[in-house]
């Protein structure tokens, strides 16, 4: 796909967004503004979680300002039952299961796709959903099932892939869809009495598709501010600074601080593509439970490409990992360090829950970038 034409040496010059002087100034500004206040902000994008860790911001921001990591990693919010379902698909004879690398090691109730692969099942890592179509073409005698997870950013590519499959009249391709939509999760967290969030760092990539309007309810119904930000050090700090200002002044709004990437109206073409293929459905999120109209399923007229419809599988009884508090981490009720398993039983090498497995999971980010 587009990667083959990407020239990595012609990307935006990052230096200006990483200028240490500007970063120091922004940190000082935030420190001043926070003062003695206690402010909890939540980022709901895994890439933000990783970036905040990598830039070491927690070690330089004032102690009263807490940055909590929300349900921003698509692998982490995937329900155990869906993982088990994917594993059951991988156990079918003559089936190749293809998925993104992060899904491989996520533990289901008793096993993982990686363990199934080692046991002889055919599980492949792909970098783009279109690779899966090539895989299907290369193996006409076998069924190729794509395990699809992702938020609004990745879903249009899944839709394009499925339409391409329909176009090619591909008989041996199907998709198990566990894709989800961000605003439903924001609503669940904003309305959670046990999670006291004062504002949201809104996802830069997701917003390129959704635009700003899906976030308005945060202000209208909950009186909470949100800022869409990019991923460079100055991007994130500018977002934090704007949020702290709005919290301090009690004037919540939804602000776009990532104008080089996000348009107010988002990307209607991509959304239309998604609407052509998928329809909203109630979905189970790890940690958040069932959220109405928060997931996507393949429309009935395309159900021949829906692996959940096409294959009748025995999914094992769902068992949640004992002691794992990924759910509370995803809601912002605790930070990863608040989980009794963190860094004791649960490490990236021996992960108990998905937040430690995925490279964008909160626990993995806290572990990797602890100071």
């Amino acid at each position: 796909m587009s990667m083959s034409t990407t020239r990595t040496d012609q990307t935006i010059d990052f230096a200006a967004f990483r200028d240490p002087h500007v970063v120091r100034e922004l940190i000082a500004r935030i420190r001043n503004r926070v003062g003695e206040r206690q402010i909890n902000l939540m980022e709901v994008c895994g890439t933000h979680t990783m970036s905040i860790g990598r830039y070491g911001f927690r070690s330089v921001l004032p102690p009263g300002l807490k940055l909590l990591s929300g349900p921003g990693c698509p692998v982490c919010v995937t329900a155990n039952r869906d993982i088990d379902h994917a594993i059951a698909l991988a156990r079918l004879d003559d089936v190749i299961v293809a998925t993104f690398g992060d899904m491989m090691r996520v533990p289901g109730s008793t096993t993982s796709l990686a363990a199934e692969k080692a046991a002889g099942r055919d599980v492949r890592i792909v970098y783009s959903p279109l690779d899966v179509l090539d895989l299907a073409r290369a193996h006409p005698d076998r069924q190729v099932v794509f395990i699809s997870v992702g938020f609004e950013t990745t879903t249009p590519a899944m839709a394009a892939c499925l339409l391409e499959a329909a176009d090619r009249a591909s008989d041996n391709f199907s998709m198990f869809c566990a894709n989800k939509m961000t605003p439903a999760a924001l609503r669940a967290i904003a309305g959670d009495p046990e999670t006291r969030i004062d504002g949201f760092i809104l996802p830069g990539h997701v917003s390129t598709i959704t635009g700003l309007s899906p976030y308005r309810f945060l202000v209208d119904e909950f009186g909470l501010p949100g800022v869409v930000t990019g991923f460079e050090p100055t991007d994130i700090l500018e977002g934090v600074s704007l949020l702290v200002d709005m919290v301090a002044e009690g004037k919540p709004a939804i602000v776009n601080a990532y104008r080089r990437g996000v348009r107010t109206e988002g990307n209607p073409v991509a959304r239309a593509l998604v609407d052509q293929v998928f329809e909203p459905v109630d979905a189970v999120w790890r940690g958040l439970g069932t959220l109405p109209s928060s997931g996507l399923r393949i429309k009935p007229e395309l159900s021949r490409y829906d692996a959940a419809v096409r294959f009748d599988v025995d999914t094992e009884t769902t068992v949640e990992p004992a002691g794992c508090r990924c759910g509370d981490v995803l809601r912002g009720r605790i930070t990863p360090e608040g989980c009794p398993l963190f860094d004791r039983i649960c490490t990236p090498e021996h992960a108990v829950g998905p937040c430690m497995v995925s490279s964008e999971g909160s626990c993995a980010a806290y572990f990797r970038y602890r100071s």
């Binding site: 990598r54 090691r105 100071s371």
Partner: protein, 340 residues
């Protein structure tokens, strides 16, 4: 040679094998020890009383990549490993495992590339072995090399010798090899000018030893990148190591590719870079010596060895341009499959 590909007979021990060895390997390596045709290559080793020995196997895919191939890698990798002991690298062995059907033209290119790298490093390939396995039992060609060098009197380099106050140097930009390989991977190909840095660094090490004789240790940051090397140093010496993120040389194109792929350049593999730990008094001399060599022009001082605070385990930390710090861990599992 009339065959176009490797056949099972090329591993038979008979005439086909002899022809393969004569026309591809002997032709390329051209060492008297090989021409002698004995089972063991016999070479001279000045009697300092100590030798350094290291072995490595190479299974990289693809076998040809921008900036090199598996042959160059197989020579440079082992030369560099032996050289990190401070030894003068003298001899190499090479063992080939060939998959039936592998194009002989490619094998010839690989052998010539090994010969070229060996010439550059001033080492001789003095013994070898060839096995052929059935199609599907290997991925084209695997190479094992073993290197022997003599350790000059009085030299005793060790990862456990890092002392608080010591200075950490790298010989050039990090992550080039890993990203060059990644850019060629099926399903992930992207256009880039980045080429592998595969290079023999024994001359660079000799130059540093000359300029900074009290150097504590060298290591080439291959798989796992700088992160693994520094964590190994910290662990072996029970110290903390602190590096300055902005001082670490990384090409903008490598940084960009890492952003795109979600990798940390400090954890990406190199095949032509050296990390050195030297006492503070010799740091400038070591840096200048590196910069005068062919593969060290972009050498830099990137950090220091620090005392371990009470109760803390050995670790590596990165200081950002705005004074924040974070731990730099070793890579947990697989990042780039089979890159060397």
């Amino acid at each position: 040679m009339t065959d176009a590909t490797v056949l099972m007979g090329h591993g038979s021990g008979g005439q086909m094998m002899k022809r393969l060895i004569d026309e591809i390997f002997l032709e390329a390596f051209d060492a008297p020890e090989l021409h002698a045709g004995n089972d063991a290559g016999v070479g001279e080793l000045p009697a300092t009383g100590r030798i350094a020995l290291s072995t490595d196997s190479f299974v990289v895919t693809p076998q040809f990549f921008p900036g090199g191939d598996i042959g160059r890698l197989a020579v440079c990798g082992t030369v560099n490993d032996v050289a990190t002991s401070g030894a003068h690298v003298r001899y190499l062995s090479c063992g080939f495992i060939l998959e039936e059907g592998y194009p002989l033209d490619d094998l010839r290119t690989i052998a010539r590339s090994m010969a070229e790298a060996a010439r550059e490093a001033d080492v001789r390939i003095v013994t070898g072995d060839t096995k052929v396995v059935e199609r599907g039992s290997a991925d084209g060609v695997y190479i094992n090399t073993t290197g022997v060098g003599e350790v000059p009197a009085g030299i005793c380099l060790s990862a456990g010798a890092c002392t608080p106050g010591d200075v950490i140097l790298v010989s050039g930009t990090l992550g080039d090899h890993g990203i060059a390989i990644m850019s060629q991977r099926e399903g992930l190909a992207f256009d880039t000018d980045i080429v592998s840095d595969a290079a023999p660094l024994n001359h660079l090490i000799a130059a540093v030893m000359q300029a900074a004789p009290r150097t504590r240790c060298f290591r080439d940051p291959t798989r796992g990148g700088l992160a693994s090397t520094l964590n190994e140093f910290a662990e072996a010496s029970r110290v903390a190591i602190e590096i300055d993120e902005d001082a670490v040389p990384v090409r903008p194109a490598v940084r960009g590719a890492c952003e795109m792929l979600g990798y940390d350049p400090l954890q990406v593999a190199n095949e032509g870079k050296m990390v050195a730990v030297v006492p503070e008094q010799e740091a400038t001399a070591a840096l200048e010596a590196m910069r005068r060599t062919r593969y060290g022009e972009q050498a830099a001082i990137i950090g220091r060895v620090r005392e371990l605070d009470r109760g803390r385990e050995p670790h590596v930390r990165v200081r950002t341009g705005w004074g924040a710090t974070r731990i730099l861990d070793m890579l947990v599992g697989e990042q780039l499959p089979r890159i060397c």
